[in-house]
């Protein structure tokens, strides 16, 4: 692949995204203070020692944001992983098997998508225990409906190709056809979708935590930090804007990369890239 053909926006997006990943992985090494460590006054302004000042309980905003970034990326990543594995495997299987299995799965997905994701998530979170595992599962399963639709649509097209017919005639089973014939050929549209689902997961998690229904204390994510500091806004303290701004930078940079992959795969029209 020629590096010069990558547009500037995609390079910037990639650099920033890798920066976020780096921060997420090495959070404990990068953060100057502990997660819950109170080091100063409430909502102290920026100084040489504290580049962004302190939060609603006098904790260093930078350190807290580094840990919050880690939580956000971890949960959104895990939820995206679940929605992708579940959605694509079920979608491919429905397309390959057809018949009643396809019918039942597709109608179930239609029904689940008839209720807005946020509303259904709120319903389920009202009774489930509030912890990170629940969050990851709820987000992953609800979002897998979108991946299911896309992967089923892609797999239906691939399923009628000659090489799939050949594999069937040689007597290969469903799992061979799904993993060895369909998956490699459906990969490029799915990778572009992966970026968009990850963005959606970040925004969704941040919204839930902002509403107080996502990550619970003492853990913290970026949406939760907005909630913690939102009271400061009316006292001219912009601390809540900083984590919200970080979320925006993260989603925009992933979006720039996803947009480029999407254009690239749609230009190739099924060719090998």
């Amino acid at each position: 692949m020629n590096l010069r053909r990558i547009p500037l926006s995609a390079i910037v997006g990639m650099l920033v995204s890798f920066g976020f990943l780096f921060v997420a992985i090495f959070a404990p090494l990068l953060a100057p203070y502990e997660l819950g460590q109170s080091i100063g006054d409430v909502w102290e302004g920026a100084s040489d020692k504290l580049p962004l000042g302190t939060d609603n309980l006098g904790r260093d905003l930078v350190s807290r944001m580094i840990y919050a970034t880690r939580t956000t990326i971890f949960i959104a990543g895990a939820a995206t992983f679940i929605s992708f594995s579940l959605g694509s495997i079920l979608g491919f299987t429905a397309a390959v098997k057809g018949g009643w299995l396809d019918m039942i799965l597709s109608r179930a997905v239609d029904l689940l998508m008839s209720i807005p994701t946020l509303i259904f998530a709120l319903v389920v979170l009202a009774v489930l225990p509030a912890n990170i595992i629940t969050l990851i599962l709820v987000m992953g399963i609800l979002d897998s409906t979108r991946v299911y639709r896309l992967s089923r649509a892609v797999a239906v097209d691939i399923n009628v190709m000659d090489y799939v017919e050949a594999a069937r005639l040689r007597g290969e089973g469903t799992s061979w056809i799904v993993f060895r014939e369909i998956l490699p050929n459906a990969l490029s549209p799915l990778v572009a979708e992966l970026g968009l689902r990850f963005i959606f997961a970040i925004l969704f998690l941040s919204s839930l935590s902002f509403l107080g229904l996502g990550v619970q204390l003492p853990d913290i994510d970026l949406g939760g930090m907005v909630k913690e500091n939102k009271e400061g806004i009316i006292f001219h303290i912009p601390a809540a804007l900083i984590p919200a701004f970080v979320i925006s930078i993260l989603t925009i940079s992933v979006n720039l990369v996803a947009d480029w992959i999407l254009n690239r795969t749609s230009d190739l029209k099924g060719g090998r890239g």
């Binding site: 209720i115 807005p116 709120l122 319903v123 902002f210 509403l211 919200a244 925006s248």
Partner: protein
């Protein structure tokens, strides 16, 4: 049978009602048949067995699930939304006040965003691939990636707190005149408009471009019609269905976006009511609110379908 279009419309409405029924079932299942005991998870692990038993009785959890579902559904059909666990009051009263607030907010947002989106969409088509178009698609990409609360608090901080043009919290009351109410909800309406505008505009642009590239538009231009006549008689009638579809989908999105915007501006709407009661684990309230939101969402989607059926001349004037 009657006119084929009537059959299609009737079919679509019947399908919508079925979907609504199934959605109510799904919402019920979501809160009742999850692993673990609902009463236990509402009260937490430290609750005494007596308290759990009392709550089970109060919630009617000793009946089998399908009996409870049909009781709930029968109540709903008679306009009885049940009683809230947290304060023991009927849900219907609180909901009707808050629902009308939410509709007030959402309809003003729709009133501004829909014409603005269509006009800007036309503008983007007019300047296709020139800088206004590129600027619009760049802003679109950015605004799709922004969380609602970032736009919300940014506006609250700069417009309400620093400039002091509008109040930072939006709590309208009965004694206010319409103008005062509009002043109160100006910021939440702006956030909602910004959130749906980009998407609506982008899809309007795509819909109009799609129509403008058709062969019959070229024919109309080549036979010497004025650009205005081409748009009025040829492009617009064919673009109605996709544009209305886009608008309805975004209005449905507006209904969901309202939940977060209400929380930002402490607006006493249905969304905030729902969120409050999710954290209180007040299951009957959550079910009732979720069903109302889902019904509005499903209804708007059905209207979108119906409009595209009715706007299709092939279906309206069968051979």
């Amino acid at each position: 049978m009657g006119h084929p279009i009537l059959n299609l419309v009737a079919q679509r409405i019947a399908l919508g009602l079925l979907l609504l029924f199934l959605a109510s079932g799904l919402i019920f299942i979501g809160t009742q048949i999850l692993p673990g005991d609902v009463a236990q998870s509402i009260l937490g692990q430290s609750a005494t067995p007596e308290a759990v038993a009392n709550l089970r009785k109060e919630l009617g959890l000793n009946d089998p699930a399908y009996v409870r579902y049909f009781k709930w559904l029968a109540g709903l059909l008679q306009g009885d939304l049940g009683t809230a666990l947290s304060n023991g009051k009927p849900i219907g009263e609180a909901v009707s006040y808050r629902f009308s607030n939410t509709i007030f907010l959402a309809s003003w947002a729709a009133l501004f965003s829909v014409p603005l989106a269509v006009i800007l969409g036309l503008f983007a088509v007019q300047y296709k691939n020139r800088w206004p178009d590129k600027l619009i698609s760049g802003v679109t990409l950015a605004s799709i990636s922004l969380p609602e609360f970032f736009i919300g608090y940014l506006l609250m901080f700069y417009v309400a707190v620093i400039l002091g043009w509008f109040p930072s919290v939006s709590i309208p009351n009965e004694s206010m005149s319409l103008l005062e109410k509009l002043d109160t909800i100006a910021l939440p309406v702006t956030v909602l408009v910004l959130v749906v505008l980009a998407h609506m505009m982008r899809m309007t642009r795509a819909a109009i471009l799609n129509v403008m590239q058709s062969a019959y538009i070229e024919t109309a231009e080549l036979k010497g019609l004025s650009p205005f006549t081409v748009i009025r008689k040829h492009a617009f009638p064919n673009a109605i269905a996709p544009i209305v579809n886009v608008i309805m989908i975004n209005l449905a999105y507006l209904v969901v976006g309202v939940i977060i915007v209400e929380s930002i501006f402490v607006y006493p709407g249905l969304g905030q009511y729902l969120v409050d009661h999710v954290s209180k684990r007040d299951v009957p309230v959550v079910q009732a609110c979720a069903l109302i939101f889902a019904s509005v969402y499903i209804t708007l989607n059905i209207i979108a379908d119906l409009v595209s059926i009715i706007a299709n001349p092939r279906l309206r004037h069968p051979k």
